[in-house]
Structure formats: structure tokens, C-alpha cells
């Protein structure tokens, strides 16, 4: 800063930023790749003036100053251009001479990312690493009294049901009388959760869809994927691959004009319909696709003008009560596909989940309940919603499951858990823990972005700029220059890798517990935790 420079309230130094870029002048070849790749223009060409003191040998010449100029980069400190820590500069640097480091103290930037009175919005997850799911261990190991199974050689049936399952007596009676029995899908217990076409780039979406199709058609794993609230590309709606797709309808109804028009031309029924009432990352708030990402293609699929932000309302505006929003909407969606497609609501984790569940138990059409916990990811949300709103998934699922047990309906309304599954990389362990707490299956979103496409976002607030369409990996961008960084074929390959390795790991958990014939839903005797309060709350064993 020059001597007559001005200091504004939001004038920050590099030290005040969450990420500091370390740059090694000696190794830099001035290729400029780092400044070109930086999604937020946090670094720019730096022309540095340097004073050198020259002290010649001998007494004839006096020591003198020499000024020289050298070039390199400079980290910008304007809050709008603060480094997000994505480290794309590191990725592209040919000489490994640049890397962002996390500040050693809480940054000061957080007090200033609300210019123009706009609170911070971002993508990613709640910025809190770890969680209770990682602490749950599998403690009932079959030893001698019953043999542990062989994860590699024994037959396993890793399947779950999505759909309203009737009580045995009623189901068999209706089958005999040829009455209507709600449709039930037998699916893989790990689902790819709702990420919309729009939130994700076309290449990412295509890659996920191809991966799912391959898993189903070549590997016989009935994996399904939810569209999120953004409609579905017309070709997919009219293809046979639609049967692996869960179409989501949410409060903005984006894309549903296209979907409804396609119904008469559909070759296959969709796997299911998910009615989104809430999501874990921004509970009680509607979906959000910021204007940066609403290009012509997205606008066309969603049926909106391009270049405007698309905030879905927090609730379905045409409905005023749970009876309206749940019962009528579920029934309408059933009717659209001739009562052949399961329809279920998805809510964010909340203490009122039990009230919703109890309502669903009395609704003969409700096919499931998906609950998205506070650790769920998103493409765009207000920071305050992400960090401070919501309910952890573990206790929410457990309460709901135990409530179903009390009602004797634990096999009738499957619960699907999402939100932070695999947040620390322990996908199979987290999923198995949730299943043993009572979930029939789990949904992942952020994890598959990280594992299948190399998303660099983290709970240390790294990157997390999915909302503005500048995803440096091309995962959540609608800019073709970024999007093309991602090869859909390679994404598909990674999706397959993820599911295959998950499958093996899940078997490696189930086999020692002596389980293989059916998914160990609610097998709470198999899990324990070294936190007494959590053990009591979850009604599982406390182990130290």
C-alpha cells in the first residue's frame, strides 16, 4: 500500500484471507497458466520492484542501491477476488511453484462477503468436517458360534425396496384378489441423489447417466439416479434408460412441462417420482440456480428465460397443508403414470420428520420417505442455511425407524437417508451404519462429484463456488470452456468404479456380521459407538 493509500473497512491483507497463495519465484517460468486457470481471478500478473544493495569489494566504489523489476504473480485481496483454495493453479503449474495454504487463523474475509447487502451464497456442504457416522463401528462379528461369511465367494443380495410395501396379510390377499398393489422397485441401496441438470454441467450429467446405465445393463446392479429439480433432457425422457431415473418435482416445477408432454412418448416408466419438500443443505429454503448458470440450454429444459436466477419457493405454493402437499400431490403423480410408479417425498432432516412420517403411514400411496440431513451438499445456498440449519441424519433416521417399528410398519415405508454420507471418504461404512440404524438405502451427491469427477470442494471451505458456474473441474459449470474439461466417458467409468468398490466394501462389512441374504436394515445389535450420549440417543451399544 502506498503512503497515501486509503484503507476502507473491507480492505484486507493477504493474511486476512482464508487461503494464502505461496509462490516460489525461483521456480516460476512465468508461463501464466495459473492466472489463466484461476476461476475467481485471485491471482494476477505481478510486477514487483526490488531494491538490491550492491557492496563492491574494495574501497574505491561506495555501496549503492540497484533497483530491478521482476515479474510474477500477486494475490488479490479484494473480497470479490479472494482465493477459494481450489488449487487449480497448483494443478496446472509445470514447476510446482504455486500452492494455496489455509490460513493459520480464522479469516477476516467472512465479515466482508456480503457486499451490496447480499449474504454469502456458495455450494458444497456444511463447513464442519467429520460426524457421528464416522464414529459408528460394527461390533457384532460372527465368531465360531456362527461363521463369518466370505465377502468374496458367498452369494450376496444387496438390494433394497423402493415403494410402499403392504403388510404381508394384506399383500397376499390383494394378490389373490388381483387388487391394486402399490408398485415396488427393487433397487441398489446406494442411490445417486438429486443433482439437477443445471446445477451440474451437461458433461457431468451425461457421465453420471452413462455410468448408471452401465451398472444396470452390464453389471446387473439396479442403481438409480435422481434428476433433481431441473427437468430431464427430452431424449432421456424418451429412452429406455428412463427406468433408472427418479424424476424429481420440486416447488419450482422446473422442467415438468417437458416431462408431462413426454409421458405419452415414454418407452419406460421412470424408476420413481421424488417430491422434494426440502433438502439438507438448505432446509426450509427452496432450490437455487443462480443466473450465471442459466444459459440457453438450461433455460430451454426448465422452460424459463435465460440469464435469470431461479430460486424455487421454500414450499409448494399451491398447497397449504400437509394433507394437501403430501396426499394430493402424491396421488396426482401416481395418476400421471397410471399408478405404476412409486411416488415419495423427500424432506430435510428436522425434528418434525416424525410428524411427516406419521402422516405418510396413513397415506396408502406414500412409497417411501427420503430424509436429507444437515451435511447434505448443494449447488447453491445461503451460507447461513448450510452452516447452521438442519438436523443430523443419524438420529433423525433412527427416530423415524423406531417409530415405524412401534407402529409395526418398518417394512412398509422405506426410509432413505442422505446428507454427508461418505463425507470423510468412508462411504460404505457410513452407508452401512445408516442402514443398520434403519435406513433402507442411502443417497449420495457430493460424494459422487468428488469421487467420479474430482470435485475439490471440502468442509474446510475449499472451492465451494458451484453456485456461480465457475467450477474449475467443469462439474457444476454451464460454461462450455469449463465444462469440456470433464470427459463424460471418464466420469461414467469412475461412477462404475465407485459402485463396484462400494459393493465390495459393503460385503466386507456385512459378511463378518453373518449377513448376506438380505440387507441388514435396522440390525442395531451390530453397531456400537464410543460416545455414551450418542449411544443412548441412537439406542445402540456403547463401546469403549
Amino acid at each position: 500500500m502506498s503512503s497515501n493509500g486509503r484503507i476502507a473497512p473491507s480492505t484486507l491483507s493477504v493474511k486476512d484471507l482464508p487461503w494464502q497463495i505461496h509462490w516460489d519465484k525461483d521456480r516460476c517460468s512465468l508461463c501464466g497458466r495459473c492466472t489463466a486457470v484461476c476461476p475467481v481471478h485471485a491471482i494476477e500478473l505481478g510486477v514487483h520492484r526490488q531494491r538490491l544493495v550492491e557492496t563492491p569489494v574494495g574501497l574505491t566504489e561506495a555501496p549503492s542501491n540497484v533497483y530491478r523489476v521482476y515479474y510474477g504473480i500477486r494475490q488479490r485481496t479484494d473480497p470479490s477476488y479472494a482465493c477459494v483454495g481450489c488449487a487449480m493453479c497448483t494443478l496446472v503449474c509445470p514447476n510446482d511453484c504455486i500452492i494455496p495454504y489455509r490460513s493459520d487463523e480464522a479469516d477476516k474475509l467472512r465479515y466482508h462477503i456480503n457486499r451490496g447487502g447480499q449474504p454469502r451464497r456458495r455450494g458444497g456442504r456444511r463447513n464442519v468436517p467429520g460426524g457421528v457416522l464416522d464414529q459408528i463401528k460394527f461390533i457384532r462379528i460372527s465368531m465360531l458360534t456362527d461363521p463369518a461369511l466370505d465377502a468374496g465367494r458367498h452369494e450376496f443380495e444387496l438390494r433394497t425396496l423402493l415403494g410402499r410395501v403392504l403388510p404381508p396379510e394384506e399383500n397376499m390377499k390383494l394378490l389373490h384378489e388381483e387388487g391394486w398393489i402399490p408398485p415396488v422397485r427393487e433397487i441398489y441401496p446406494l442411490m445417486i441423489g438429486a443433482m439437477s441438470f443445471g446445477a451440474l454441467s451437461p458433461n457431468m450429467w451425461e457421465g453420471l447417466q452413462m455410468g448408471v446405465a452401465y451398472l444396470n445393463e452390464e453389471l446387473g446392479m439396479p442403481v438409480c439416479i435422481c434428476t433433481g429439480e431441473g427437468g430431464c433432457p427430452p431424449r432421456l425422457l424418451r429412452s429406455r434408460f428412463l427406468k433408472y431415473v427418479i424424476l424429481q418435482i420440486a416447488s419450482g416445477y422446473f422442467g415438468w412441462d417437458e416431462i408431462i408432454r413426454a409421458i405419452p412418448e415414454m418407452k419406460e416408466d421412470p424408476c420413481a417420482i421424488e417430491i422434494k419438500y426440502g433438502q439438507g443443505a438448505k432446509p426450509g429454503d427452496g432450490g437455487l440456480l443462480m443466473w450465471y448458470k442459466v444459459n440457453k440450454l438450461i433455460a430451454a429444459i426448465r422452460g424459463v428465460p435465460p440469464g435469470v436466477s431461479l430460486p424455487s419457493p421454500p414450499t409448494h405454493q399451491t398447497k397449504y397443508s400437509i394433507e394437501e402437499s403430501v396426499a394430493k400431490m402424491i396421488q396426482s403423480m401416481y395418476m400421471a403414470w397410471g399408478f405404476r410408479v412409486p411416488v415419495y417425498p423427500k424432506i430435510s432432516g428436522t425434528t418434525t420428520a416424525l410428524a411427516v412420517l406419521n402422516n405418510l403411514t396413513r397415506n396408502p400411496y406414500a412409497a417411501a420417505l427420503a430424509i436429507d440431513g444437515e451435511d447434505g451438499g448443494t449447488g447453491a445456498a445461503y451460507n447461513v442455511s448450510m452452516n447452521h440449519m438442519g438436523h443430523p441424519i443419524a438420529s433423525n433416521i433412527r427416530d423415524c425407524y423406531l417409530n415405524l417399528v412401534k407402529l409395526g410398519m418398518q417394512n412398509e415405508i422405506p426410509l432413505f437417508a442422505g446428507g454427508g454420507v461418505g463425507k470423510s471418504g468412508n462411504l460404505a461404512a457410513n452407508a452401512a451404519a445408516l442402514i443398520m440404524l434403519g435406513a433402507s438405502g442411502v443417497q449420495i451427491g457430493k460424494y459422487i462429484m468428488q469421487a467420479a469427477a474430482g470435485c475439490v470442494g471440502s468442509e474446510s471451505d475449499r472451492c465451494n463456488i458451484c453456485n456461480i458456474g465457475l467450477c474449475p473441474k467443469g462439474i457444476t459449470s454451464q460454461d462450455p470452456r469449463l465444462d469440456r474439461r470433464l470427459d463424460p466417458e471418464q466420469v461414467a467409468e469412475r461412477v462404475v468404479d465407485v459402485f463396484l468398490s462400494f459393493d465390495t466394501e459393503l460385503k466386507k462389512i456385512m459378511a463378518p456380521l453373518g449377513r448376506s441374504t438380505s440387507l441388514p436394515i435396522g440390525m442395531s445389535d451390530a453397531i456400537g459407538i464410543n460416545d455414551q450420549a450418542a449411544a443412548e440417543r441412537l439406542q445402540i451399544r456403547y463401546v469403549v
Binding site: 456362527d146 410395501v165 409395526g408 453373518g514 448376506s516 435396522g522 440390525m523
Partner: protein, 376 residues
């Protein structure tokens, strides 16, 4: 892992046939309990067919409470069998006051009741007695049902059998099931001792049931008062069978489809594929995960054997027309029926249900992939 033997014979047999079979299989049980189920009874009990027989263990005070209770309900003792035991029990066997086997006359007020109502009430009385006994620890009740006697005690089977003098003519029966218990993960408790019984259905099992918790949660939430207990993880097998037969109205051939359903590819080719897929979905919480060999007796006195999906436990059935046995080990079968044609012994595999119908003419095998005799 427990040892199991079941015998079905045209000519009445002494329970000792089963006890001796358990004795040769003694390396597989540890004396933590022996259970005996007798049906198709002879002697005095044959004359009393149709009236309920109460089997249990009572203290003197418990017996008084029982008498008062039964009097209040209106049951009159019709026949009682006294088991007088030596004053000092053999090592490892508890000292008990009374081993009770007593047949009752139905109350007059029950005459107009339907059979299902009578059956329901009999079960409720058994449960009430059990509950009373648990309160004051003075009664243990195993069964209260026509043509069924059950005896359970802690100790080595042969020692217990001699101590209780099971080799008496009144106890001869045509259907005998016995289990020698290898205590595993649950406390030594007579209610944890097989065979388990509910409304004419009895089963016994070896091996642990790894899916125990979700299964008993499901059973207990059916709203049926008889689905209680679960001191042993094996009790759920009896209740699942009862559920299949009575609540779903299905035959024994479907039992295996409930506990170990076929995988989807097999169901797609099964003649009853659609039915079985529904059964699998709707009874998903009753799927067992083994390792188990389940041997049981149906209300019509059919004996059967099924294995878990992976056949992780042994089990063999053999005999000759008029006398068949099912045993968890070959040596048990050898002890029970040494003079049979061993080449006709059959070890059911993971798809099989083996039956011995009450005519005792053959061992019938039903494979899960075969068409089912479904009610129309």
C-alpha cells in the same frame, strides 16, 4: 452349536430314543439345556385327545397359584402325571419342586366357542401363566395345548432323562423332538431352550440367527400376543412358521420362501415367480441369514427340515416306512434308527424342505424352485 433329533414313528416310542441320539451327539452340546417335545401321544394321553395338556415346572407355591388360577378360569384337572424325582439332583441339574404334566377339562363356558377362539384362549392362558411365573419366579410354562407335552431342563440330556425317568410308558409318543443345547450368546434360561412352541407349531434350530433383532422387532410389532419371549434367537423361527401358516394361510412349502427367498433371477423363472416376489417383498423382515438348520413339527404332526440359504449347518433325514428321523448329525440318526437303508438317507441342501407326513411312508423333498401348491 446345538444338536437336534426328531423322530416320527407309527409305533409309539420312548423319549429315550431321542435322548440316546443326543447322547451320541454329545460333543455338540454342553449340558446347558435339553428340551423335549412329544406329540401324537399314547397311553392315558391318547384317551384325552382334544383336551389341553399343561407342561411346565413349578415350585410348591407356584402350583398353588396355578390351581387357584385354573379354577378361576374354569379348568378342571382331568389327568395328571407325577414325576417323582430323587431328592438330590445329579450334578448340573437344578433342584425343582414339581415337573408338571397335567390335562385339563375345558371350562363349560368354552363349549360354544369356535376352534380358533379356543386356540387363541389357550395361548393367552399359557402366556398369562408365564407372565405370572416370571413375576414371582415360581412357574415356568412350556406348552398348554392338546396332545403336546414338553419338558425342558438344564443338564446333560441323558442324565436329565434318567433323573426324570423319561423312560416311562405314559410318555411314549409317535412324534418326538429333542434338542441338546450348546449355550452361545444368551443366558442359560429354560425359556431359551428349544423346541419352541406356539399353537401347535414347534421348531428347534441349531446355529445362530444373525438377523435376530430386525426379525423379532417385526414379529413383536404384528400385534399378536403370542409373538413374545425371544430369550433365544431361534424362537423367531417358530413364530415365522406360525405367521406363515396361520396369518398368511400358506403351506409349509412356502416357509422356506419366507425365511430364505430365492434371488431374483431364480424368481424370474419360477412358475410362481410373481407370487413369490410379492412374498419376498412383503415378508422381507422375516428373512433369516443363517447359519441354521430348522427342524419342526406342524399341527398335523408333519415333521420337516429346512436349511439356511447357504446350507451352513448339517442335517440329515432317513429311516424306513413307519419310522423316520431327522437329525442334525448322521451319528444321531444312526443311534435312533440303526437298521435303516442308509443309501436312502438324504441331506437336504439349500433349496430343499424335507417332510415326513403323518402317514410316515416316505421322505418328501420339496425344492424351492418347484411349483408351489397354492390355494386357489
Amino acid at each position: 452349536m446345538c444338536r437336534l433329533i426328531a423322530v416320527s414313528s407309527d409305533t409309539p416310542q420312548s423319549p429315550m430314543i431321542a435322548m440316546r441320539a443326543l447322547d451320541v451327539m454329545q460333543e455338540g452340546h454342553d449340558g446347558s439345556g435339553v428340551g423335549l417335545f412329544l406329540s401324537d401321544l399314547t397311553g392315558p394321553f391318547q384317551e384325552l385327545k382334544g383336551v389341553p395338556i399343561l407342561s411346565g415346572i413349578f415350585t410348591n407355591a407356584g402350583l398353588k397359584r396355578l390351581d387357584q388360577f385354573m379354577k378361576d378360569v374354569g379348568f378342571m384337572t382331568k389327568y395328571k402325571m407325577a414325576i417323582k424325582v430323587p431328592k438330590i439332583p445329579p450334578p448340573g441339574v437344578f433342584k425343582r419342586d414339581i415337573y408338571l404334566i397335567r390335562a385339563y377339562e375345558y371350562p363349560e363356558t368354552w363349549e360354544e366357542l369356535s376352534e380358533s377362539e379356543i386356540q387363541h384362549r389357550l395361548m393367552l392362558i399359557r402366556l398369562q401363566l408365564r407372565h405370572m411365573g416370571e413375576e414371582k419366579e415360581d412357574m415356568i410354562v412350556f406348552s398348554f395345548w392338546p396332545d403336546v407335552i414338553m419338558i425342558k431342563e438344564i443338564g446333560d440330556p441323558l442324565t436329565v432323562a434318567e433323573y426324570l425317568q423319561l423312560d416311562r410308558p405314559e410318555l411314549q409318543a409317535r412324534v418326538i423332538m429333542a434338542q441338546g443345547r450348546q449355550n452361545t450368546n444368551y443366558a442359560i434360561n429354560l425359556y431359551a431352550c428349544h423346541p419352541f412352541f406356539i399353537q401347535g407349531v414347534a421348531t428347534m434350530t441349531n446355529g445362530e440367527n444373525t438377523a435376530f433383532v430386525p426379525i423379532w422387532e417385526f414379529l413383536m410389532s404384528r400385534g399378536f400376543p403370542g409373538y413374545v419371549g425371544y430369550q433365544s434367537d431361534s424362537e423367531v423361527f417358530t413364530h415365522i412358521l406360525h405367521f406363515t401358516l396361520t396369518r398368511l394361510g400358506l403351506g409349509i412349502q412356502t416357509y422356506k420362501h419366507v425365511i430364505t427367498p430365492l434371488q431374483d433371477e431364480d424368481l424370474d423363472h419360477h412358475p410362481n415367480g410373481r407370487f413369490l416376489k410379492h412374498l419376498k417383498h412383503t415378508c422381507r423382515r422375516l428373512i433369516i441369514d443363517g447359519p441354521n438348520c430348522v427342524i419342526g413339527c406342524l399341527p398335523d404332526k408333519t415333521l420337516f427340515l429346512v436349511q439356511d440359504r447357504k446350507k451352513l449347518r448339517p442335517g440329515v433325514v432317513g429311516g424306513k416306512p413307519g419310522l423316520y428321523a431327522i437329525s442334525s448329525e448322521m451319528c444321531g440318526l444312526d443311534a435312533a434308527i440303526p437298521d435303516r437303508d442308509k443309501s436312502k438317507d438324504f441331506q437336504p441342501m439349500y433349496l430343499d424342505t424335507a417332510f415326513i407326513r403323518p402317514d410316515r411312508q416316505e421322505v418328501k423333498i420339496c425344492r424351492q424352485t418347484e411349483e408351489l401348491p397354492l390355494p386357489h
